[in-house]
């Protein structure tokens, strides 16, 4: 089974010019372990709102590609947000859901995707025009590049192993990240 950090590594170079929002926990720590960039914002709490943040960014920055790295636990906390994304379906938004079927950082308790909830199906039924589920690194990288090159809101559900980094707290202060990210976007204009 593929690991999330390998997925991130496979597409890391393509994130250079994207506006990137991640959820808390393993995704944030692993992306930082590959190398933090000022165009990456890590929402280290408020579970569920990374996708809503990506929606706000995508609607307000129509010329930029916005990438959200979400997770099954977070998406399940804001399923309604998928319907809002599906309603406005910004062409410049790529929504990746790393689905490890567990709430890893609090001890690995299984989420509802472990017992059959299909987040790709939910996204499709909510009106997201392009969706897929991938299980290998090659499939993931291809799906991500396709989504980035295409001009249509895409949700990619990537089934990954429930393993994460040793530590979740990194050296980057939350507010430092927030102001740096804001300055990066200001600099785009």
């Amino acid at each position: 089974m593929m690991q999330r950090v390998d997925c991130l590594r496979a597409i890391y170079p393509q994130l250079q010019d994207c506006v990137v929002v991640t959820i808390m926990g393993a995704v944030a720590a692993e992306l930082q372990s590959l190398g933090h960039r000022p165009n990456f914002f890590y929402l280290q709490h408020a579970m569920g709102l990374a996708s809503s943040t990506g929606l706000g960014l995508a609607l307000c920055l129509p010329k930029r590609k916005v990438v959200v790295f979400d997770g099954d636990g977070s998406v399940l906390m804001n399923l309604g947000g998928l319907s809002t994304m599906g309603r406005y379906r910004p062409d410049n938004l790529v929504h990746v859901v790393f689905d490890n079927e567990s709430l890893l950082s609090v001890g690995g308790f299984p989420t509802a995707t472990a017992t059959g909830t299909d987040l790709e199906g939910v996204a499709r039924a909510a009106g997201v025009p392009r969706t897929c589920t991938v299980r290998t690194l090659e499939e993931f990288a291809a799906a991500f590049l396709d989504a980035l090159a295409g001009n249509q809101l895409t949700s990619i559900v990537a089934k990954v192993e429930a393993v994460g980094p040793k530590a979740y707290v990194t050296g980057l202060a939350l507010l430092e990240n927030r102001f740096q990210f804001q300055r990066y976007i200001e600099g785009l204009k």
């Binding site: 408020a46 569920g48 709102l49 809503s52 706000g56 920055l61 939350l174 976007i185």
Partner: protein, 173 residues
């Protein structure tokens, strides 16, 4: 419908005047005219939500992108947004301009609104969110501008409670 069209217009014009370019909303009776005005305005990005808490993320995204926003919600929607307000807007110092219809207060006939009405101000106070009232059409423009100014100076949410006095015109008997 006895929701005041004229006072809704005053609120909408005030939002436009202070540069609001995105409005998130979840319909509620007192907000119908405001939402329609946003919908009919080609220069306004209107985001209709499934649940009000999403609006915290949408507004944060807009803020990062340099777009001023306002959130239109009922007080029960504010109560449903508390975690997003605390662990995103307050944790990350994101300004939010929240326009909250103040249901369940004096004059309320719907029993189901009354508990939320009683909880609204205590929750705003306990979160340390500066709030004021929109009750006088003559002061709407100034108060909205002031709430927005404070939100951006402090990098923090501020709230305006839309009162029955302003929003509701009792039909003549």
């Amino acid at each position: 419908m006895p929701v005041s069209q004229a006072n809704s217009r005053a609120i909408y014009d005030a939002l436009k005047k202070c540069g609001v370019g995105l409005v998130s909303a979840l319909p509620e009776t007192w907000l119908v005219h405001l939402i329609r005005m946003a919908e009919e305005d080609p220069a306004m990005i209107l985001v209709r939500l499934a649940k009000e808490e999403e609006g915290v993320g949408v507004s944060a995204g807009a803020y990062f992108a340099g777009v001023k926003s306002a959130m239109l919600m009922q007080n029960h929607g504010f109560l449903a947004s508390v975690n997003g307000i605390v662990s995103f807007a307050q944790l990350y110092r994101i300004p939010l301009l929240m326009l909250i219809s103040y249901r369940g207060h004096f004059g309320e006939r719907d029993p189901w609104q009354t508990q939320g009405g009683a909880a609204t101000e205590p929750v705003l106070r306990s979160l340390g969110i500066p709030y004021g009232f929109l009750d006088d059409p003559a002061k709407v423009e100034k108060r909205i501008a002031e709430a927005q100014t404070l939100a951006h100076a402090r990098l923090h949410p501020t709230a305006l409670l839309l009162t029955r006095e302003l929003m509701w015109e009792e039909p003549a008997l």
